[in-house]
């Protein structure tokens, strides 16, 4: 490896007389041998079992545009176009299940294929080869860096987006009767979600003027001590706002956990399942529900 910094534009200017002509010469060489090098690269990709989620045709067409972008960056020294392309590429291939290591792997393979070809061309003149690699390596590393960063950024953007949508979906507060709310909780209740749940519940109590709330945790696989205590606090806070809380659907595992860790449940009103909870809430609110037509009526 060279000891130069990754900024190719400055390095090539520092290399001395005639060296600024090296990159254009190199680019011309890569353009000339485009078909052969691209084929070699695509073979190496297949050989390394990368991009298995894509068809050979797709791999080949992406390889073509990556190759052209790559050479373009070597020529201009500007990574912006490549950044846009890499982001666009990531957007297309991430949903297909392409992994980070594959993307980085193919870019590194291309770097190696091109370096090999340069070596072949210049191996007669060792000094010249050295200068060519001095010009080539920083630019190639910068490209690999750019592609990897763009891919990871795109992936992080998708994760953030998904987190936001999960958060919005996760805690609906629903009115089932006048002054009766239900809160079905599905999935793992972490700290952040528990806080969000409390906020939404309390504002729901105010908005719907609720007197009874049924929190159903049938879909919650487990509770830790922090979240259990938070749940107790939520019940207390609802009480302060004038609404009683019924908790339903405690699994055997959660019941065991709560008793083992010693959460104070004396103030918790729990009922076996959601149906039982709603029935009790209806009794508290003075509703009487029955069939309109029954055989023994």
């Amino acid at each position: 490896m060279t000891s130069t910094t990754p900024d190719s534009r400055h390095d090539s200017a520092d290399l001395g007389d005639g060296d600024e002509l090296l990159l254009p010469e190199l680019v011309a060489h890569l353009r000339e041998n485009r078909t052969q090098l691209r084929r070699e690269w695509a073979d190496r990709i297949t050989g390394a079992h990368l991009l298995t989620a894509m068809t050979p045709q797709e791999t080949f067409s992406e390889a073509t545009s990556v190759y052209d972008n790559y050479v373009g960056v070597l020529e201009t020294g500007s990574v912006e176009a490549l950044q846009d392309y890499a982001r666009d590429l990531s957007e297309r291939i991430i949903p297909r299940g392409v992994e980070t290591h594959e993307v980085i792997g193919i870019v590194l393979l291309l770097r190696d294929v091109l370096a090999r070809s340069l070596f072949q061309k210049y191996h007669q003149d060792f000094t010249l080869l050295n200068r060519v690699l001095d010009a080539y390596e920083p630019a190639a590393n910068r490209i690999a860096n750019t592609v990897a960063v763009s891919f990871v950024q795109e992936r992080e953007r998708i994760i953030r987006q998904q987190q936001d949508s999960i958060r919005e979906l996760s805690t609906p507060v629903l009115q089932v009767r006048e002054r009766l709310l239900i809160l079905p909780i599905i999935g793992v209740l972490d700290d952040q979600r528990a806080h969000q749940l409390t906020e939404q519940l309390l504002s729901g109590i105010r908005r719907h003027r609720a007197k009874v709330v049924v929190i159903d945790i049938t879909g919650v696989p487990d509770l830790d001590a922090d979240v259990a205590n938070h749940l107790v606090q939520t019940v207390d806070a609802s009480r302060l706002m004038g609404a009683g809380v019924i908790i339903t659907g405690l699994s055997p595992k959660i019941a065991q956990t709560l008793v083992t860790i010693g959460v104070d449940l004396t103030k918790m009103n729990t009922v076996g399942d959601l149906q039982g909870g709603i029935e009790q809430a209806e009794r508290q609110l003075g509703f009487r529900v029955g069939r309109t037509s029954s055989d023994d009526g």
Partner: protein, 132 residues
């Protein structure tokens, strides 16, 4: 109740209205400790003079309630009980409810969503002893 006649320094930032046999006290802004004690003093006196059977304390304007304030509210409720009136706290905002449970302040008092609910609660708990 050691001080029977506190100096009327500034107008109390609590209005105490009577509605039938109930007293409705609205706290408009955060009160300091001496104002709280003055409020307690005034309210307990009014229960006697108005022959109130219920007290509603509306804290909707408050966004914090410290331990002294919550203890004072609890004391007011106990004193009111001794003077024959039931107490209900109304209008606790979501943020206030969360901060109170986080601080571990237990009111141990009946609470209701708002004034209307408070009135409903009182008429349910202080049913007229001599119905016609």
């Amino acid at each position: 109740m050691a001080d029977p006649d506190p100096p009327p320094a500034e107008p109390l930032r609590v209005s105490i209205l009577s509605q039938g046999s109930y007293l409705i006290a609205s706290i408009h802004t955060a009160l300091d400790d001496s104002q709280l004690l003055r409020f307690q003093h005034d309210l307990i006196h009014r229960i006697g003079t108005q022959r109130a059977r219920g007290v509603i304390i509306d804290v909707a304007a408050l966004d914090v309630l410290d331990s002294f304030a919550s203890r004072t509210l609890r004391d007011i409720a106990r004193m009111s009980r001794l003077r024959g009136a039931a107490t209900v706290i109304v209008g606790i905002a979501p943020e206030l409810a969360i901060s109170m449970v986080r601080l571990g302040l237990h009111l141990d008092l009946p609470t209701a969503l708002d004034l209307e609910e408070g009135l409903a609660h009182l008429s349910a708990t202080t049913a007229t002893p001599t119905p016609p």
